[in-house]
Amino acid sequence: MSQPVVGERKPRALNQRVLLLGFLVVAPLVAVLLLNLGRDPHVIDSPLVGRAAPEFTLQPLDGGEPVTLASLRGRPLVLNFWATWCVPCFQEHPLLVSAARALGDRARFIGVIYEDSEEQVQGFLARQGSAYPSLLDPGSRTAIAFGIFGVPETYFIDAEGRIAAKHVGPLDAASLEAKLRQAGLSP
């Protein structure tokens, strides 16, 4: 065993400095990883929930006067961003149509078309049925303003125009009802 030539330091049983340093370096890392286990990093919370919904003025699919957000106030609003090429949108479409019909005047349903052609949408609605207007969003400016990551995404806006809730992915009956209540739908 080689003898220390210079800088002799009596070897202690436990080098406390190393222990402390190691712990200080490692503990925050381990804590951060542990706290994030189980969370899906691709799902991003919307910063718009709880704030006034962005204003828009969009042309309806079947022509007519442009629709503004202000004109839709007074009732809870379900704003559904969708497209015909999106499989989950196809899955949730019947639910939205039947809910719109069932709720009648108690809530308003509006679709916003995301990156699609008019003919495709018209053909789809003709085949699958529609119960509420869909608006065209050229260049997806409104989708960007609403912070859309993909489709389908649905915003639930209350009577005063504040965003009460957001739903990412296809809607199911339970979520639709729960989030409509959050937007102030009277039972």
């Binding site: 220390p4 080098n15 190691g22 490692v26 990883l33 542990l34 990093p41």
Partner: protein, 651 residues
């Protein structure tokens, strides 16, 4: 039947490694020859079981045996055979099985190579290796089983992710990556053995360095291959995006490079032994962190596998490995006594410390940036991003500093350098710097960081070439012919030195090429109809035609673009847009024309065969090919320096 056999092989590997770890530890504590023999046998058994399990899986993939769960998951009747083999590592369970193959191979070879040497260290080392192997065998037996039986047997499978079938590079990038990553287990075992015995002498520093440099070589190649794959396949024209999984492979590379330099100083001067061992342990720990980052689903990355139960399991192993390393260091680091001193003045010794400082700082910065979004999420509940702009900003000064250090360090003599020696060493290479800078300025380079990178690159290359030339010059002075001098000084006698300087030369070129390619490129976006032209750099591009191509696993729309420069026709490039059955968005494949100094890179943004319209992204990327070529040079230099000399083969 196949699945059951595979399961049994995995259990055999688990048994062999667990028992072997125990026997090895007992042997090391008591020093028994019989114990050592059995430890070795169990190590070989572990290796054999893993090799056999992998061989079985490859056979099952080729035979399209869908009764095996992993084959049912990634196999397909409609993919070519090479894709079937490559699917071994394309999905989670298979990649763990492949990890098992590599660790089994390394443990087997490393045990055999050291069977008659370093008797006081080796049982500890093998025990640690087998403990790590046991963890991966446990994963294969528990959370990530590839050999489950599927009943009823499906008729076909979905095939691997289409992105992974696009390019041949997919076949070689993961194996190189695993050979690098997993290989870091071996120096981890050796470093642990040094700490456990309380000794790290000259005799053991050599194998530690060798077994660190071998996986380092593979990891270097793997990281650059990943960049090359991204460049050739993804279509955005870049090769590195600082994605968390990319960073996961880069972090251990940084500490391993620091460890290689620190080990050299330890070998020569007998100092910094504890620090070298710490760096080696950190390298292994970063590989485990890296695999956690890739497989846990906690990090937002395009590369990550889907979430599964494996994340928490790897996390537990990571915590255990961290605890083991810190405890071992705290208990034993003081016993690794220094045998000399680092010269406190300016000289090569002290610059080794600067090297380590820069590499560790780089590691810290990349790790901080990668983990930071998770920290903010935990503290503020807000999701934020630390992306490419941040990392580029941090990496540029660090890379350039390292480039300069590669020149200044080897220029100075060992030990204390007198001011006169410093001047004699550091002033002449300024000529190289000035020459390269002048040429660059003449070619139109104006950006300050790029010019600085080129200047430092010229400086470092002159120093490196001089160091490579010196032993040649001495032999020539004694009358040897040039050819014989080259062979003797480079390959027969001074391999370590020669190989190391070749690696430095390659690394300098890589850094300069990265600087030039990321700042001196031009690009153009154009919407073209058939017959229209556009210009990018010196090239004229003509949109000739649209073709539709049907392949078994994808439909593609191909743009035929004619390329000419200075009136001379250079050929036709065919970038394409591929539509895979399972993906919504089509995935483009770029077309790249590489020449000596630059790449012409074409990518399809949008294409419509009906209307004959093409949205084309055209780029001229200078010196990109130099990155790949210089990396190959680094690998060759490293392999040359790894060939063992007589000193290594003595017991």
């Amino acid at each position: 039947m196949t699945a059951a056999l595979g399961r049994n092989l995995v259990l055999l590997a688990l048994l062999a490694s667990t028992v072997g770890a125990v026997v090895g530890s007992a042997t090391a504590a008591r020093g028994s020859a019989v114990g050592w023999a059995w430890t070795r046998r169990l190590a070989y058994l572990f290796a054999a079981a893993m090799v056999a399990a992998n061989g079985l899986m490859v056979w099952a993939l080729l035979a399209r045996d869908f009764s095996v769960s992993y084959v049912a998951q990634v196999g397909s009747l409609s993919v070519p055979n090479w894709v079937a083999v490559v699917s071994l590592w394309s999905s989670l369970e298979g990649s763990i099985l492949f990890w098992g193959l590599v660790i089994g191979g390394y443990v087997g070879v490393a045990t055999w190579a050291n069977r008659d040497r370093h008797p006081e260290y080796m049982p500890w080392a093998v025990a640690v290796w087998l403990a790590c192997g046991a963890f991966f065998a446990f994963l294969l037996a528990g959370p990530a089983q590839p050999f489950q039986t599927v009943s009823p047997v499906p008729a076909d499978g979905p095939g691997p992710n289409p992105l992974l079938q696009n390019h041949l590079l997919m076949a070689i990038h993961p194996p190189f990556l695993y050979l690098g990553f997993v290989g870091m287990t071996i120096p981890f075992g050796l470093a642990s053995a040094a700490l456990l015995t309380g000794r790290l002498g000259h005799d053991f520093l050599r194998p530690l360095r060798t077994w660190l440099m071998l996986p380092w070589t593979f990891l270097t190649v793997a990281i650059v291959l990943g960049g090359w794959w991204a460049y050739e396949v993804l279509g955005w024209g870049g090769y590195w995006a600082w994605d968390p999984v990319e960073n996961a492979s880069f972090l251990p590379w940084l500490t391993a490079t620091a460890a290689l330099h620190s080990a050299l100083l330890s070998e020569r001067k007998g100092v910094l032994k504890g620090w070298t061992v710490t760096l080696v342990l950190a390298t292994f720990l970063l590989t485990i962190l890296g695999t956690f980052m890739t497989r846990s689903g906690v990090f937002n990355s395009v590369h990550s596998f889907t979430q599964s139960a494996i994340g928490p399991t790897i996390f537990v192993f990571l915590v255990l490995a961290l605890a083991w390393s810190i405890a071992l260091l705290a208990l034993r680091i003081d016993r690794l006594a220094a045998e000399g001193t680092v010269e406190p003045a300016l000289g090569r010794d002290s610059l080794f410390l600067v090297n380590n400082l820069l590499f560790v700082l780089f590691t810290f910065t990349v790790l901080l940036g990668t983990v930071f979004p998770l920290l903010v999420e935990a503290l503020r509940g807000v999701q934020m991003s630390v992306g490419r702009p941040y990392f580029d900003r941090m990496a540029v000064p660090l890379g350039i500093a390292l480039l300069l250090l590669m020149g200044v360090g080897p220029a100075l003599p060992w030990g204390r350098a007198t001011p006169q020696q410093v001047r004699q060493a550091l002033v002449p290479p300024l000529m190289g710097a000035a020459l390269v800078t002048a040429v660059a300025a003449a070619l139109g380079v104006r950006r300050p960081w790029t010019l600085l990178a080129l200047a430092f690159g010229g400086y470092t290359l002159q120093v490196t070439l001089r160091e490579l030339w010196l032993p040649l010059a001495r032999r020539r002075a004694r009358g040897e012919s040039l050819g014989r001098a080259l062979v003797e000084s480079g390959f027969l006698r001074g391999r370590r030195r020669f190989g190391s300087y070749v690696v430095h030369a390659g690394a300098a070129v890589v850094i300069v090429a990265i600087a030039v390619s990321s700042t001196m490129g031009t690009s153009r976006e154009a919407q073209l109809k058939v017959g229209e032209k556009t210009q990018v750099g010196a090239y004229t591009l003509t949109f000739l035609a649209v073709d539709e191509v049907s392949e078994p696993h994808r439909e593609a729309v191909v743009a035929r673009v004619g390329v000419s420069r200075g009136g001379r026709e250079l050929g036709v490039l065919s970038p394409r847009m591929n539509q895979y059955e399972r993906q919504r968005e089509p995935i483009g494949t770029p077309a790249v024309r590489s020449s000596l100094f630059e790449d012409l890179y074409l990518s399809v943004m949008n294409i419509d065969s009906a209307s004959g319209s093409l949205g084309l992204l055209a780029m001229v990327n200078p010196m990109v090919g130099w990155i790949w070529a210089a990396t190959a040079l680094m690998a060759l230099g490293s392999l040359v320096s790894l060939v063992p000399s007589r000193a290594d083969t003595r017991p």
